[in-house]
């Protein structure tokens, strides 16, 4: 009942957030189109790279496009459903959690879902556009849906963990912003270019390996059930950790008297 209720709440929030954003129709559509165009420009750099070489450690243009698609899709899901997670530090630092704390629903879900990024819809579209450009088979499209959902959950949960630093260090969420940028940066490069030290980094501190590299390597290019289970396991562990860290940190919440409203 509780889980079902929380799922319903997530979609209720999404519906309301989109309704809010759709008040400004032109801006709504423009944000989506601009994000697709912005993402497409990055393909140019890879066109140039692959005009000089056929592959990078076995990764051709097609594989890199799929990596980009998975990365943008995961980013899109996290920012569409859980955009509030990326602002938790601000909520803590400026005492804006009060409204959520007086409501009976789970505070973290409430906060994470409280806002959305319309541009993220462009990222999700972009995922399937690059899949089309890459010319992948139909089951890749189908498989991409659960992959980017799990990837989005990993991304959002990880960011929550880092954002909770704001309970202990003033503006400690700045580190979370760095992690978010690093994830988007590293997840678009073929994993073969990273050495062992970097790989440890990419599978632990900023686990974009589980978001993008694992599904690419062990679902699309070959199949290994253990790696797939590991990906799901990482998502579950990060979600549990995010709830735990947020709950512990909440005891240090100091509220505040800044004037403010929900926009």
């Amino acid at each position: 009942m509780g889980v079902k209720n929380n799922f319903l709440l997530i979609f209720k929030y999404l519906k309301l957030n989109l309704k809010k954003e759709a008040q400004y129709k032109s801006s709504f559509v423009l944000q989506i189109i601009m994000m697709i165009l912005n993402d497409l420009f990055f393909i140019l750099q890879w066109i140039i790279v692959f005009s000089l070489t056929d592959s990078i450690g076995g990764y051709g243009f097609r594989e890199v496009l799929v990596l980009w698609g998975l990365s943008a899709g995961s980013y899109g899901i996290s920012h569409l459903f859980f955009y509030g997670a990326f602002n938790i530090g601000d909520f803590i630092y400026n005492g804006k959690l009060d409204v959520f704390l007086t409501q009976p629903k789970n505070i973290l879900i409430n906060v994470c879902c409280s806002s959305t990024s319309v541009a993220a819809i462009g990222d999700i579209f972009y995922c399937f556009i690059v899949f089309a450009i890459a010319g992948v088979t139909w089951w890749w499209y189908l498989a991409a849906i659960p992959i980017i959902i799990i990837g989005g959950i990993i991304f959002a949960a990880l960011i929550v963990c880092y954002q909770t630093l704001a309970f202990y260090v003033k503006k400690g969420n700045a580190f979370a912003d760095m992690v978010a940028s690093s994830i988007t940066l590293f997840s678009t490069y073929p994993p073969v270019i990273f050495d062992i030290v970097s790989k440890v980094f990419l599978y632990t501190i900023i686990p974009c390996g589980f978001m993008v590299f694992v599904p690419m390597q062990y679902i699309f290019l070959s199949f290994n059930i253990w790696w797939v289970l590991a990906m799901v396991g990482v998502a579950v562990v990060l979600v549990v950790l995010a709830f735990l860290l947020f709950k512990i940190g909440l005891k240090r919440y100091a509220s505040g008297n800044l004037m403010g409203g929900r926009i």
Binding site: L101, P104, G260
Partner: protein, 329 residues
């Protein structure tokens, strides 16, 4: 029946020591903390159906107390029971039985209509759709918001917004309503309307009200009991009648006379300031009357007169001073 019980409640905030001027670099190396006692060992209880005002100057600890009672803040020490629940441990359960209205923090989504907001809050409190629509319609009638219920909140006046905030906090039929400076920034007419509505909620619907404000008018009209808090401590816990009798019955009268006439102090009339033909007098209405005051000069000599109540801040200060004196004795 007691609905709120607070025993020896305290809340400390750790603040970083500020270094000024040339010593600013010490911030980098020293980590000296200062403990600020926002709420200092307070105890009180509230009966079901009571309307209690929590007043005090800025930083007195009013909002911090309300935030601990609603489960927003964890207390440093002490015990709280609200409707038999511990707000820190049973926050979610408690939130279904209480409502909050923060004058400084809006809970409504300003880009959406009031109706959209109410439907969303109904979902947050798991109210069945049919029941929710009925409740919205009832509250819209009481609060007279039907005219603008389908307008985006951002286009409403502050008074209309506060009405909608109150409706949103009443959707789940709470037993206690916490108001934290709900009339802040409102014009006198909107203030009056809101006060009447709060009074109605208390009297007709039997909702227990806990109210913080700086405005003496709010408190006078809405509450029967008042707790004055300063520096985190309770300075006075009394009923409104006694507070009015002892502290708010002093009027400040400023008279401007045509001629330079000498006014002499009488029992209950104290001269605070006198300059040429202008006088500032403190009149204790428990001892004397306005009639007696006006008898001090002829009506023909009067050019201008203004009468005001002793400012609440002064009342609080005098109570605070009294508290301090009692301590030193």
């Amino acid at each position: 029946m007691k609905v709120i019980e607070v025993k020896n409640l305290s809340k400390d905030f750790k603040l970083k020591k500020k270094y000024k001027g040339k010593e600013f670099w010490k911030h980098l190396f020293k980590k000296e903390k200062i403990i600020k006692k926002a709420v200092n060992n307070i105890s009180f209880s509230v009966e079901e159906g009571e309307a209690l005002a929590f007043i005090g100057p800025n930083g007195a600890g009013k909002s911090t107390t309300i935030k601990m009672l609603t489960g927003i803040l964890y207390p440093t020490s002490g015990e709280i029971s609200v409707l038999g629940l511990n707000p820190t441990k049973e926050r979610a359960k408690l939130s279904r039985q209480i409502g909050t209205v923060f004058g400084q923090k809006e809970q409504l989504w300003v880009h959406l209509t009031a109706m959209d907001n109410f439907l969303f809050f109904g979902a947050i409190y798991d109210i069945p759709k049919k029941e929710l629509l009925k409740r919205i319609s009832e509250l819209a009638e009481i609060f007279e918001i039907n005219e603008f219920i389908n307008q985006p909140v951002k286009s409403l006046s502050l008074g209309q917004r506060m009405k909608c905030e109150m409706v949103a906090s009443l959707l789940h039929n709470p037993k206690i309503l916490f108001f934290d400076e709900p009339t802040i920034g409102l014009d006198p007419v909107a203030k009056e309307t809101l006060r009447m509505l709060i009074k109605k909620l208390n009297k007709e619907l039997g909702i227990t009200i806990l109210f913080t404000s700086h405005d003496v008018g709010d408190i006078e009209e809405v509450c029967k009991r008042v707790i004055i808090i300063n520096d985190g401590k309770i300075m006075l816990d009394d009923n409104m009648k006694n507070l009015k009798y002892h502290y708010l019955n002093k009027k400040i009268v400023e008279v401007n006379l045509i001629r330079d006439i000498s006014i002499k102090e009488k029992e209950g009339i104290k001269i605070l300031k006198a300059k040429n033909s202008m006088y500032k007098l403190e009149v204790d209405m428990n001892i004397t009357t306005m009639e007696q005051l006006l008898g001090l000069f002829k009506a023909d000599d009067l050019q201008d007169i203004s009468i005001s109540t002793t400012p609440l801040e002064d009342v609080i200060k005098s109570i605070y001073r009294r508290g301090k004196n009692e301590k030193t004795e």
